[in-house]
Subunit: 240 residues, 4 copies
């Protein structure tokens, strides 16, 4: 019995990549591709879909996810923009129906593992800096993944003294007590390294992605995992 | 109350470094340095030593460790050469006395974390290769740490097909299904990276040590941990 | 006045990429795409082509290049398979007509610079190893670029003692006195690093390509350079 | 016939390392170690010294170098602090006596080659960023070597648009149109990488030093080279 999947936002970059690569997974069956013009509720009902993968726009992701759950499909949400309150409300909705679901800001397995290892290493090595490297078209610096990594590291560190902003520009940005450097160059796609400094030794955790296909294994793993879950989970790291 | 420590093998390279750096740790008190000519049992008794750090020679490490335990001191063993049967026998001895102890092939915290992260990542990314890089005087290739890493990765991987020896020399050595490359160059000390390959993404875990001081935090952490333990533990990773 | 270019082998992977990206260069005008079924001589004559970029098959590249030169077009040859004698013969043909031309085994500018820098560094640092990393579908190990790099390094080194094959498999392949390691993992495309070891210092030259578009700047640079040359040049490094 | 060498500043860190390692070079003979209390002129005369290696303090390096030249010894100057005017004046002094000499801000051969390769690569790849990484005790950021590298790259680049200071802190410092990032962590000594971005490819030149011994080959190479020179040269890169 294959899992019946709808891809919502199937014309966007991530949605299109999902549609193109799902065929390589025989246990997953694409039953429909939908977008903002589609009647999502009706499509779920018609195909008795098990899972809806959502890569639409931030604007109405809360309503879309509500629709998914109310129609008894399991949400796999890659679209950003949900507030903490909205996530709590959606968790409650899933709980009432004992329905599984996943909301993930990043579906790359190597990025998830990098963040997890960085969080764990920060317990032993409080001194650490992040270098994230992306293509020049990226609008924000530092990247969301670098910020998320710093937050996780900060939460697991002990005895951190109050850090101050660097006075030298070359020393980068301090965020959550972790210094972040952002490199922007053509020829790069999405890369991050976290360097931990100890006594005459260093530990480096590095992640490199070269196309958006890198996110697909995380998406398809989520499609399978939500079938076993009875609640909505935030963050792919919590189901690995 | 500081912990009273004897360094056995205090004239060797590692022992000497231990003696030189223990003074930076006020909670640890060096009460004696011993070597093959010393009466270790008498020295332990005389100083009522809590811990014996051992960096002597493989030849009689089993007898030395027995002496340590029988005299109610806690062993922190960095000397290699103990067989699995000997370790079991020493564990039994510690158990009878409810005495803590640690035997560690590698005291570098970054090396321990690298091995742990490599083991965990291997669950998700079965395709991986190890590149270890050392100074040209190193006699063995691949390194013991590379072998240990491969063993841990092998044990945590699923569904590994039988791998075959590479026919091209440049492809390195296959050990426990993991390909290992050994670089030997002046200017290097002790470095290792483990690269995991996924769909259009890679994850790299890298460790660099530049002097033997890098092993000291692990040694001193062990001196503190054995005071809380009531058994002999093999591998620093088990007390982190 | 734009340069009139024919792409021979326009249906192959490299030819196709050339056709797709030449439009971004207003000084270059694609006048025709040809393949093994086309009458290359007639197409050159008809369009009065200045340059023929050739990415066809090794089988008849010698005849194709003769045709290009005899019809007064300048060859830019990316197809491999020409022997040293054939290259000499083609050089003679260009010389008689004072016609420019380029034969290049690798059009990546970063690869060319890496090889040049590796050759220069080998003069000062005889101890060096190459780590080349590619996708698992690559059939040969070590790569052609790694071999070419080793040849260049070997030629510029002084006082090299006779090197022997390594007895440990993990130590890789010795080629021209340079040890080469070949990593093959999913998530990789085409990468190479050359590490030079000195007294307590190392120098690393690394090159990463993530798509075949990386070869295009070298191709288009060649299209412009051959217009200024009055001879056939072998190797992109000689026109940089 | 060995070259007779005086080490001025023989009690400082660099001077001491020079004294300790010169014995490994049979063609170089240490005839005296001097410091601020010594009569340098008399010592040169007494030993008929060929070369004076100077690692004293910036305060009176100009006078010291004048003394060296006036007493017919060849200066090998690693002490910083000379102004451009002073260097010109010292060059004139050497010229009058047809005496060789070297003033070098950095004696590391890998650092010199890194700077040279970075300068050359900048001609082809205008987009580049520098990441320099040092121990946390280093007072300045970015490092002098990073600044020197950026200056060399800037001078060899063409068509550089006016660059503006980054508005995001994480984007580092712009110096001579090159973005520099400074990492400061325990476990690091002195490392720098220059990353060049092209179309779907990158080139990285990296240099790692782990002790001050890394500077010795450059010092001893200079001792030999000044014997052949008949002028004062500024920058080790000019004699390689």
């Amino acid at each position: 019995m294959s899992i019946k999947v709808i891809v919502n936002g199937s014309h966007g970059k991530m949605g299109k990549t999902t549609v193109e690569t799902i065929v390589e997974h025989p246990d997953l069956q694409l039953v429909a591709g939908t977008n903002s013009d589609s009647d999502l509720a009706a499509t779920i009902q018609e195909h008795q879909a098990d899972v809806v993968v959502d890569f639409t726009a931030p604007a109405n992701i809360f309503e879309q996810t509500q629709t998914i759950i109310k129609n008894n499909a399991r949400p796999v949400i890659g679209t950003s923009g949900l507030t903490i309150e909205e996530i709590e409300s959606l968790k409650q909705l899933c709980k009432e129906k004992s329905l599984g679901g996943i909301i993930a800001p990043n579906f790359s397995l190597t990025a998830i593992l990098m963040m997890r290892f960085a969080r764990d290493a920060a317990q032993y090595f409080p001194d650490a800096e992040i270098i994230e490297m992306h293509h020049p078209q990226k609008v924000d610096a530092p990247s969301g993944t670098a910020r998320k990594t710093a937050e996780l590291m900060h939460a697991s560190r002990h005895n951190i003294s109050d850090s101050q902003a660097h006075k030298d520009l070359a020393r980068g940005e301090q965020y959550q007590g972790v210094t972040i450097h952002s490199v922007r160059l053509p020829g790069l796609v999405a890369h991050q390294q976290v360097i931990f400094g100890g006594l005459d030794e260093t530990l480096t955790i590095r992640q490199d992605s070269i196309t958006r296909k890198a996110f697909m294994p995380g998406v398809f793993l989520s499609c399978r995992k939500v079938m076993e879950l009875d609640q909505l989970v935030y963050g792919l790291e919590n189901i690995l």
